[in-house]
């Protein structure tokens, strides 16, 4: 059994390093390039400038050109990686001159940094979570869960292909979830704070953590122990924050500048086509014509909170392990569907709990995970990652089927009909988008169709998740 886990881990690593051979976002496309250049540029900024200048506009730090807009932990990580890069070849991160730097060696270096994060953080984290689930449920699904999580193409294609470091924030989040399952609340608070400080998108997961921990505090026997536990958790979170934000805590203005960088309201409700409600509504009712950007931000916040309220209130009152995973799933979907400035890639945050919910609802979740990759296809196609995306998704499905003998057959009629329809729909859209060129009047026709189709699925899954949580017999 252990050797098979090892085999899966190395297979996951192999797939990641093979995807690394492909092209990346913004390859050979000046002047702005893409996420690869963004990450390289952050290394350039953090290595060459003083900490206080990282988030502020200056002659040495043009924020219009991939200004740093992730929290401090990302910045520190960029600094660390940048220093290593500089020791290999100083040209990688030379101030100003290194803009748009591309070479075979540099690609190898950058790819290696992502794979190192996979090896050091992501793969151990998901392995730990798979073991924790088995421990709390006294079951033996770790091989099944670990293999599928390691083989999930969404995260791999974005991190090792497109180029990002979601593996770090997702890895921290996974360990935090494992800590909750093992009732290690201080560790959970600490680790989740790390995740949040690597990527602010981890806010998608924050409400269930908050609800669960608050519920634990409230359920203490006496008021005294309630206060004690609450203050200890708060202390863990605040101390972690304080340490990470130390360089900017000198003045209120500096801290606000960082915050402002993290939540750029001015960038609009969405950029590219994305599979959420606003993008779908926009098809028939142009949002920008009717609502100002600031108003829109408020509408988004309100809708997101309303949509995520029921699941978190329930979690607060009934704190079960499955309930926690379901709440993470529902909340991150609510954020994805309704919040402001959503990117296609953030669906990975909903995919993380979904991967571990495969344990309870294998057939439902595998469909969801396939839709998540489908929803990112326009993005991946731009990076010339369409072939690996399709191939890896089919292989993912087949790997799932290899374990299928274990999973219970779903007797839900809903899924029985929806699954084949979804599959046929997705396959025909992919085939059609490759064979039928979009009309010149609507050049974004296919990405839009993909977005709307995925959005429909995500809405259905959002409802399904809530229904499951309220009627769950498992929890």
């Amino acid at each position: 059994m252990r050797s098979e886990i090892l085999a899966s881990a190395f297979l996951g690593l192999a797939v990641r390093s093979i995807i690394s051979l492909y092209s990346y976002s913004g390859f050979d496309s000046p002047p702005m390039h893409g996420d690869y250049e963004a990450q390289r540029h952050w290394q350039e900024i953090t290595v060459n400038l003083a900490v206080g200048e990282w988030y502020t506009n200056s002659s040495n730090n043009d924020l219009q050109y991939w200004g740093l807009d992730y929290p401090p932990l990302t910045a520190y990580h960029s600094y660390l990686v940048g220093r290593i890069g500089a020791s290999i070849d100083p040209r990688f991160v030379e101030l100003h001159k290194s803009r748009g730097f591309e070479s075979k060696e540099h690609k190898r270096f950058m790819r290696a940094t992502v794979v190192s994060a996979d090896v050091l953080i992501y793969l151990p984290a998901i392995l730990l979570l798979a073991y924790s689930l088995d421990k709390t449920f006294r079951s033996d699904d770790k091989l099944f869960l670990f293999t599928l999580v390691a083989a999930y193409p969404g995260q791999t294609l974005i991190d090792n292909g497109h180029f990002q470091y979601n593996n770090i924030s997702l890895g921290f989040a996974a360990v935090a979830i494992a800590a909750i399952l093992r009732r290690r609340f201080y560790a959970a608070a600490f680790l989740f704070t790390l995740a949040l400080n690597y990527k602010q998108m981890e806010l998608y997961h924050s409400l269930p953590f908050f609800a669960f921990l608050l519920g634990e505090c409230v359920s203490q026997k006496s008021f005294g122990s309630f206060v004690a536990q609450l203050s200890r958790i708060a202390a863990v979170v605040l101390t972690t924050f304080a340490i990470l934000w130390l360089p900017w805590l000198g003045s209120l203005q500096a801290a606000l500048q960082v915050l402002h960088r993290l939540f750029p309201v001015a960038r609009g409700v969405f950029e590219d086509k994305v599979a959420n409600v606003w993008c779908a509504v926009n098809v028939v009712w142009k949002l920008k014509k009717h609502i100002s950007n600031d108003q829109m931000a408020l509408v988004c916040i309100a809708c997101t909170l309303i949509a995520s309220l029921p699941t978190n209130v329930l979690l607060f009152r009934r704190r079960t392990n499955v309930g926690f995973l379901l709440a993470l799933f529902n909340t991150s979907l609510a954020f994805f569907l309704f919040s402001f400035q959503v990117h296609e890639k953030t669906i990975l945050l909903a995919a993380l709990p979904a991967l571990f919910l495969l344990k309870c609802w294998p057939n439902e979740m595998i469909l969801f995970l396939e839709v998540t990759v489908f929803s990112m296809l326009p993005l991946l196609a731009r990076d010339e990652l369409l072939v690996p995306a399709v191939v890896a998704t089919v292989a993912f499905h087949l790997i799932f089927k290899c374990f299928d003998s274990k999973s219970k057959l779903s007797n839900e009629y809903l899924l029985k009909y929806i699954e084949p329809i979804s599959h046929i729909l997705m396959i025909s859209i992919v085939v059609a988008s490759l064979t039928v060129p979009a009309p010149t009047k609507y050049p974004d026709l296919w990405p839009l169709i993909i977005s709307v189709t995925s959005c429909g699925h995500f809405l259905l899954f959002f409802l399904w998740g809530n229904v499951q949580q309220f009627s769950s017999k498992l929890s």
């Binding site: 050797s3 085999a7 190395f10 093979i18 051979l21 292989a395 089927k401």
Partner: protein, 511 residues
């Protein structure tokens, strides 16, 4: 357990497609050149043309196969079919050639299925699943075919079909398939003795009367020689020219990178002796990788006849054993004979390529499914054998893929063997120590050599280490497995483990 064979085929195909943009070796250009030659030149020029240094040196069936591929290739990118277009590799060419390997792997898939069935494994058993996994996801084939670039899947597919037919007692089909295989790639001649002895003993001599025995021989000859006639027929006027291309003895004893065999140790011993005795090296060094010919400074020079004599000598005992084995056990002994004939030629052959280790490793996968001891030996050789392929994948981008694919396969192999044979133990202490050395070589190659500043001074040392160290494992396997196959045990160990295997088998049945 469900029949997951086609699932695994799908997963393997996916992995292969993912590998399309990976580095490919000059063999890619070799095969592109052959596409061009067969498409653009008349038949009588195929084995004459020398525009590219990579002249056609496979038998005619493979040339016809390339011609067939070129009929598709002309619709993909006709420029790859121009003979003078050396080193041409457009994106379309890469995709076409890579996909042609993946598509012809279908023959391999059929061969695997046929062989596993012929061993009497039901499709819903753990053995069938393990066999499918070990063969379909074979890391050696991934390395050699889908990264380095060759068509071994097709060739081993035909070999497995031939083995499958033979075990099913369809002797004429088996002989036919094997003859076809020889006309695709003549290196399989090294396995011919096993096939020949088996067919002679259990097909010809099993006949009831002398007349029918003679009839059987005639049938066998007709079936076996027809592929040769079809293949070489069109070239009968230039047969010497064709043969000189197929058997280029001008190449040296060892390949530029020493395959991990006896001669690698011999070369190494010569180097050491030359160093100790302070004998001047006569010209180019053997490890430089630039020369094909090896000149020994201290030890006697080796000529092709010596290697052939040694190869034949070492094949003999297992062939005798095969000839004398009872009919009931004959398939098992036959498979071992195939393995040991392949291994003899690998260990002692003239100008052996490291890839040829697949001729030993792949048939061993079959044996490892049915017998606990064979499984143990297969595992030992697997570790050393697949490791020895690393020098083929020297591109820096491939370091992580090659190690992780290897580790994944080796771990998976252990997991599957453990499931088939509960309590399966890979190695004993000495073997464990040897295996640890395989951690040291990458450690030296990627870390220590730079720390000690030896990477510039001794750039070929990692290759030498890989070759020599793997050679130790291969030779150990060769010796130990040979004795085991002949039924000569070193003590009670073999007997004890075989009885425990039988006990486990009984246990499984009662389950």
């Amino acid at each position: 357990m469900k029949d997951l064979f086609w699932h695994l085929v799908g997963i393997a195909t996916g992995l292969k497609i993912l590998l399309i943009p990976a580095y490919h070796s000059t063999d890619f250009e070799v095969h592109r050149n052959w596409l061009a030659i067969t498409h653009s030149l008349p038949l009588n020029q195929w084995y004459v043309d020398a525009t590219s240094e990579w002249t056609l040196d496979y038998p005619p069936f493979f040339a016809y196969f390339e011609w067939l591929l070129s009929q598709v290739a002309k619709y993909v990118d006709p420029r790859m079919l121009v003979v003078d277009n050396l080193n041409y590799e457009s994106k379309a060419t890469v995709y076409f050639q890579r996909l042609s390997v993946i598509a012809t792997d279908l023959v391999y898939v059929l061969g695997v299925r046929s062989c596993l069935g012929s061993l009497g494994l039901a499709r819903d058993t753990q053995q069938f699943f393990a066999g499918s996994m070990l063969l379909l996801l074979n890391v050696g084939l991934l390395f050699v075919d889908h990264i380095h670039f060759q068509y071994n899947g097709l060739l081993f597919g035909i070999l497995l079909l031939s083995i499958g037919s033979l075990i099913r007692q369809r002797f004429l089909w088996s002989a036919f398939a094997f003859a076809v295989l020889l006309n695709f790639k003549h290196i399989f001649l090294y396995m011919a003795p096993a096939f020949g002895v088996y067919l002679l003993r259990f097909y010809c001599l099993e006949q009831a009367s002398v007349v029918s025995a003679v009839g059987a021989v005639v049938k066998l000859l007709v079936v076996g020689l027809t592929p040769f006639a079809v293949s070489f027929g069109p070239f009968w006027k230039q047969l010497p020219q064709v043969l000189s291309r197929l058997f280029p003895f001008k190449r040296g004893l060892t390949h530029a990178y020493w395959a991990p065999n006896f001669w690698a140790l011999y070369n190494a011993a010569d180097k050491v002796a030359a160093g100790v005795l302070k004998v001047q090296d006569g010209g180019a060094s053997t490890t430089s990788g630039l020369v094909q010919e090896v000149r020994h400074s201290v030890l006697p020079a080796i000529t092709p006849p010596v290697t052939f004599a040694l190869t034949a000598l070492f094949m003999l005992p297992i062939l005798v054993k095969l000839f004398r084995s009872p009919k009931k056990q004959s398939p098992l002994v036959f498979l071992r004979a195939v393995v040991l004939c392949g291994c003899s030629s690998f260990v002692f052959g003239w100008h052996v390529h490291e890839k040829a280790i697949l001729m030993v490793l792949l048939p061993l996968c079959l044996l490892s499914l049915v017998n606990r001891d064979d499984a143990r030996y297969a595992y030992v050789l697997g570790i050393a054998g697949y490791f020895s392929l690393f020098p083929l994948l020297f591109d820096a981008d491939l370091y992580i893929p090659r190690y992780s694919l290897y580790m994944s396969y080796v771990a998976m192999m252990y997991g599957q063997l453990y499931r088939i044979f509960p309590g399966f133990r890979g190695f004993h202490t000495l073997e464990w120590l040897y295996m640890l050395g395989f951690l040291a070589i990458p450690l030296y190659e990627h870390l220590l050599s730079f720390l000690l500043h030896l990477d510039q001074r001794l750039p070929f040392l990692p290759l030498l280490l890989t070759s020599v160290y793997s050679a130790l494992g291969v030779l150990y396997f060769f010796g130990a497995y040979y004795l085991y196959a002949l039924g000569i045990s070193w003590g009670k160990v073999a007997i004890a483990s075989s009885t425990s295997a039988a006990a486990v088998k009984r246990k499984r049945k009662t389950k």
